[in-house]
Amino acid sequence: MKDQREPLDHEQALLAHFRAHGSGEPSAELDARILAAASATARETQQAQIDSDNAGWAQRLHQWLFGSGRQRWSVAVAGLACVGIGVSLTWRTLEQTPEAFDAVPPSVAMSPAAPAPIAAKRAPEQEAIAPMAAPQERMRSQAMARQAPSADMAEAPMASSAALAPMAELVIQSEPREALLRLLELRKAGEQEEAQRLLEQLKADYPHLDIEAELAHLATESPSE
């Protein structure tokens, strides 16, 4: 123990000796220069703190961004960019939402399969009345064009028109049929003048319709009905 402590004692004695008898120290002028610089910096810091306490929000923001030596402005810019992207995405989503609600749902677009047997059953009648359907077909296509607001949605109205076709044909074929039946009744009743007016009206409305043939067809049908 004594042997280990002795070198330590010697070390401490030598170090103390050098501390006590070492020479050299900075000049008073150098001390004054350094302390003056330090005091000036301390005053500036105090003044900056006072200014900061009195500063408006714009100056505070500026000091926060650039005054601390850290690059806080980059964090602020990144934050603003994130907010901008978020707002942009939200806006785009809101713009697209109404169109999505207007679109024909896929369940409706797939529905033509159901009325297909009805359409097949009525095919002979449709062939007979096809010439009469021309004006209505034109009107219907115009209506369809109005229903299709954009090219993106073009397929959906086509699908829905296919689904609605049998119903539209029922409506179309009922009008000349009723008129022709009315004409038959008028002829049977001997009201020639009114029958003639109705005939002319039918010719005007359905120029391609073979009215007499239709009348003959209806005349054969009517007793069974």
């Binding site: 050098f18 008898h21 070492g22 150098l30 220069r33 330090a38 301390a42 703190q49």
Partner: protein
């Protein structure tokens, strides 16, 4: 009323960064002599020591950074001073001679321990102390000065000089042996 200036170095530095000039004054008085003697002992040139000493304190004054928590203020201060001096040597093209191999080899042999009468009869003449220091290899002198004037522990010196602790320990031991021998010899011969 000012708080009593008994804070540790880090607290004084924080107070100075908030604009307390008295805190800097306390910090300066605490370390001025040790730092200056470390620089003077290392370079042996009073003017150069003053220049580097001023640059070190000025860099501390101008810097806005706080002291890192893991490092003592004193270690930080001496590291700044040491780096400044090395930069100066590099600029002026001073060649740092590597005496380590020679001196460590030489002092590895058993050192005749001087008796207590010789220990306490060590030269007190500052010029002789300075001459004995100048006779040390640079690495040993640096470790001895950091220990003597900076009052740094061996692990702190190792961190500051980026040297393994064992190397620092052996350098200090060789430096002490050589200084003891040199000063005792001079005392005997006087």
């Amino acid at each position: 009323m000012n708080a009593p200036l008994t804070d540790d170095d880090a607290a004084l530095l924080r107070r100075y960064r908030r604009g307390d000039a008295a805190a800097f004054n306390a910090l300066y008085q605490r370390h001025r002599l040790g730092l200056f003697r470390f620089l003077l002992g290392l370079c042996g040139d009073h003017a150069l020591a003053e220049e580097v000493f001023q640059e070190t304190w000025m860099s501390l004054v101008r810097s806005q950074s706080e002291q890192r928590e893991a490092v003592l203020f004193k270690t930080w201060l001496y590291q700044i001073a040491r780096n400044r001096l090395i930069d100066h040597w590099r600029k002026t093209g001073r060649h740092q001679a590597g005496h380590d191999e020679y001196d460590e080899g030489q002092h590895a042999q058993a050192d005749p321990q001087p008796g207590p009468e010789q220990q306490w009869g060590l030269s007190r003449d500052s010029e002789r102390l300075q001459a004995a220091l100048a006779d040390l290899p640079e690495d040993q002198r640096e470790v001895f000065l950091l220990r003597a004037h900076g009052d740094l522990e061996l692990n702190e010196i190792a961190e500051l000089t980026r040297t393994p602790a064992e190397t620092v320990k052996s350098r200090l031991r060789y430096a002490l042996q050589k200084l003891r021998r040199l000063l005792a010899t001079e005392e005997l011969s006087a």
